[in-house]
């Protein structure tokens, strides 16, 4: 309550600063992407080439797919720390069923993703465990389980049809990029055009009011985590296909960090009640561009990591809502 006094006193002074912060939260990511593109166009050799763009997009596709699910979860005022582990699980499932054909393998991987996500959702919605705590168990055990399934081995994959997913293209656009783009459209439609999407945002924006408005809060929560799980599994399948190997040990390591970063950088607040799909897409692109720019200018991986850490802190700092 004490802040109320200071707020009212300095109200006019801070209102312009607040407006600036809000503008930055909403549009910062687009400006940053534009600025980085401009910088690279001017100072980086061979940047504005189709080949380079394709490479960047292929690298960003799995992160984007995971980030889309994460954006939905964060929209409900939650977080899913288990996405990397779910990717590893999907990767471990693929070789088991590839013998029965790529379609069966992919479907099995996605089913595991849905189940993992729904499990998280039930813990959050029905048992009432905090999202970060609920998804921690799967983060701890999920990768281990994947490694147990894979017997700790990296398995080379040779099914041509399956590998086509990661290497093939349609009209010059890589399949994985196409899938990521399609999913972004689907998720955008889901959030903005469907009952489920609007209920999701309402639950995140004011859970008490949503309950009093008779919204199916538990169903929405379970659904959101299930979607996040299946998207992580899709990302795991695509990354596995591109790698031409099932590698549960490294698959999706620190993916939760990349996904959360992209979502937050894209202007979706960790406090929920808002999902920005386009912002998330640009958040992923921004982080990919940052990495690419640093690498193209021969900055070592170590520096790149430290700079990313700084960007994450800065983005979360700007995005946090003052209460």
């Amino acid at each position: 309550m004490a802040q109320t006094t200071t707020q009212s006193a300095t109200r006019t002074a801070t209102s312009t600063a607040a407006a600036r912060t809000r503008w930055l939260q909403d549009n910062g990511v687009y400006v940053a992407v534009a600025a980085l593109l401009l910088f690279n166009a001017l100072f980086t050799a061979n940047f504005l080439t189709l080949g380079n763009f394709t490479t960047q997009l292929v690298q960003a596709a799995p992160v984007l797919i995971v980030a889309l699910g994460m954006a939905l979860v964060i929209g409900t005022e939650g977080v899913d720390l288990s996405v990397g582990a779910v990717m590893a699980l999907a990767a471990a499932i693929i070789p088991l069923y590839l013998g029965a054909g790529p379609l069966v393998a992919i479907v099995m991987a996605l089913v595991v993703g849905v189940l993992a996500g729904a499990f998280n959702g039930l813990l959050v919605a029905k048992v009432g465990i905090q999202p970060i705590v609920a998804t921690l168990a799967l983060l701890v055990g999920g990768r281990g389980l994947a490694l147990v399934i894979a017997e700790g081995q990296l398995v080379q994959l040779h099914d041509q049809a399956f590998l086509e997913l990661g290497t093939g293209d349609v009209l010059g656009i890589p399949i994985s990029v196409l899938i990521a783009g399609l999913l972004a459209l689907v998720i955008a439609g889901l959030t903005n055009r469907t009952t489920f999407g609007r209920q999701l945002v309402a639950v995140g924006g004011n859970r008490k009011a949503a309950t009093l408005a008779g919204l199916p809060v538990n169903r929405v929560l379970v659904g959101v985590y299930a979607i996040c799980g299946v998207l992580a599994a899709i990302a795991g399948v695509l990354a596995t296909s591109r790698l031409a190997a099932s590698d549960p040990a490294d698959m999706g390591l620190l993916m939760e960090l990349s996904a959360i970063t992209a979502v937050v950088v894209g202007g979706t607040p960790l406090t929920g009640g808002k999902v920005r799909v386009l912002g998330t897409v640009f958040g992923v692109i921004l982080m990919q561009l940052v990495r690419a720019t640093l690498i193209k200018h021969n900055l070592p991986d170590s520096i790149a990591q430290m700079i990313q850490a700084a960007i994450i802190i800065a983005a979360v700092y700007v995005a946090r809502e003052r209460r």
Binding site: T4, R193, V201, G205, N206, T211, P216, G273
Partner: protein, 504 residues
């Protein structure tokens, strides 16, 4: 009378974001007295307390404090997972000669101390394992042990069982005997008259009365709080409500014996189509709880809700399906979804009806939103404007629209005109009237007696969680309501005398 003020406040003014919370308030607490501080919601009690304790700095006025003040709040502000003893001595733990906490002594001291407060529980067990009343007592003991000269108690009994209330009042008397001055905030008339010497009534941020409590009849006190004089002649037409409604004979809503201890106890409410039933009573009398019990948002110890004779399961979804909608009192925390647009806030509860296969029909939505924006005269630049940017009155209309587009048969309105400007208030009142005319059954909760007397066809008066009276027709006067609230039938002067034998 010799004066020895511990706290003296003169001409204090405090404004938040252009709204005056306290205006030129004088307040004096004499050493050794128990001073009741009363007033309805928004009267400025909590602001005054925060000024007294130094949490708020007043914009104008003088404040003198001659002693250390401790405050205990309605919700126990301790740490439930820590032991009772640890809570009691947090920040001033007894040490042994190695500078470490002496746990044996801490427990012994705590046991001994709490025995004086009637608590014999194991002090090494977590505080959360104690009953709420005992926790409140620990908070009180902690406040007193901090060498307080003044203890401010902000509605300390609101969540206590009757037995616990007795223990607490006993402790308050002991503190009083020990020479500690007390500011006691409560809405329970019985308690006030039993223990308090002096009373200060706040209304709309102003001190409307200060003086000895025993000389003030209960009904006077209630009328001071509500701002209605007993003798005042009924003047209808101050609100935008029309004349009485033609009600059907069969009730569409029947709530029987609603009980959720300790907040409400055996409340009965029935409303006929086209009827506006008012719920009157002081803050904390169980009005909001009754409405929440009907909509299924409050866990019940007993009671049933019937709509058109059929029982409704006790959850919000079933209640809504049966045709009950509730406009919650707290717009911010229970009503609006701040990040969403006006359009989305309006259609929120009706979404499943406005979509096919889960995809929302934008045209249907726009049509409904357009209808309600026009009908309720919601002032928006566009339906896409964020609801958080609207004025209170328009937010309230948006919420009303949200419930109306679920096509309810029963509408529960909890303080629909609170905190909105005069114009919007009249519009909301006229709308309620119109809705009842169209056959809706309305339950109207309001702290404003005018609004209730004028708007309701029948009034149910609540006191301490029970129905204190039902008024209809000629009985719909402020005198009857005030009498029911003040419980004139039972005179508490006996207890009163006992508790003041050592007073001034």
């Amino acid at each position: 009378m010799p004066t020895d003020p511990v706290i003296e406040v003169a001409g204090v003014t405090k404004t938040f974001a252009g709204v005056q919370a306290l205006g030129d308030v004088d307040f004096t607490l004499q050493r050794g007295e128990i001073h009741a501080l009363v007033g309805e919601n928004g009267a400025g009690k909590s602001t005054l307390i925060k000024v007294l304790t130094g949490i708020h700095t007043p914009d104008a006025g003088r404040l003198t404090r001659n002693g250390h003040i401790s405050t205990i709040y309605q919700e126990v502000n301790l740490v439930p997972l820590m032991s009772v003893a640890a809570n009691l001595f947090l920040g001033r733990e007894p040490r042994n000669r190695f500078g470490l906490i002496d746990r044996a002594r801490r427990n012994a001291d705590a046991s001994e101390l709490l025995r004086g407060y009637g608590i014999t529980a194991d002090v090494s067990s977590p505080l959360g394992t104690l009953a709420v009343g005992e926790q409140q007592m620990v908070a009180l003991a902690r406040a007193v042990e901090a060498n307080a000269d003044v203890v401010i108690m902000d509605e300390p009994t609101s969540s206590l069982e009757p037995r616990e209330v007795e223990t607490l009042l006993g402790v308050v008397r002991k503190l009083h005997e020990a020479g500690i001055s007390i500011i006691y905030v409560s809405h329970r008339m019985d308690e006030l008259y039993r223990i308090c010497d002096t009373v200060t009534v706040l209304r709309d941020g102003r001190n409307v009365h200060s003086g000895p409590l025993k000389e003030l009849p209960r009904i006077e006190l209630v009328s001071l709080m509500l701002g209605r004089s007993v003798k005042e002649i009924e003047k209808h037409g101050t609100t935008a409500f029309g004349e009485g409604h033609h009600a059907d004979t069969q009730p569409v809503l029947e709530a029987r014996e609603l009980t959720s201890r300790p907040r409400i106890n055996g409340v009965n409410v029935s409303i006929r189509p086209g009827e506006v039933v008012g719920l009157a009573g002081l803050l904390g009398s169980g009005r909001t709880e009754t409405a929440k019990a009907i909509i299924g948002a409050l866990p019940l110890d007993g009671g049933t809700v019937l709509v058109a004779g059929k029982p409704v399961s006790h959850n919000v979804k079933s209640a809504m399906r049966a045709g009950i909608s509730m406009l919650a009192e707290d717009r911010k925390t229970e009503g609006i979804i701040p990040n969403l647009s006006v359009r989305e806030n309006i259609v929120l509860a009706a979404l499943p009806r406005l979509s096919r296969f889960g995809v929302i029909s934008r045209s249907k939505q726009d049509r409904i939103v357009d209808t309600f924006v026009k009908r309720l005269r919601i002032k928006v630049s566009s339906p896409e404007q964020k609801v958080a940017e609207l004025s209170g009155g328009n937010q309230q209309k948006v919420l009303l629209a949200r419930w109306l587009c679920t096509e309810p048969r029963i509408l529960l309105l909890d303080e629909p005109s609170r905190g909105i400007d005069v114009g919007a208030k009249a519009e909301v009142q006229a709308l309620i009237d119109e809705l009842a005319r169209e056959g809706l059954a309305v339950l109207l909760i309001s702290s404003e007696l005018d609004e209730l007397l004028d708007g309701a066809d029948r009034l149910i008066v609540l006191r301490d969680g029970s129905v204190a009276g039902e008024l209809e027709g000629d009985q719909l006067t402020s005198e009857h309501v005030l009498k029911a609230i003040a419980a004139e039938v039972r005179d508490g002067s006996d207890d009163h005398a006992v508790s003041h034998q050592n007073g001034n």
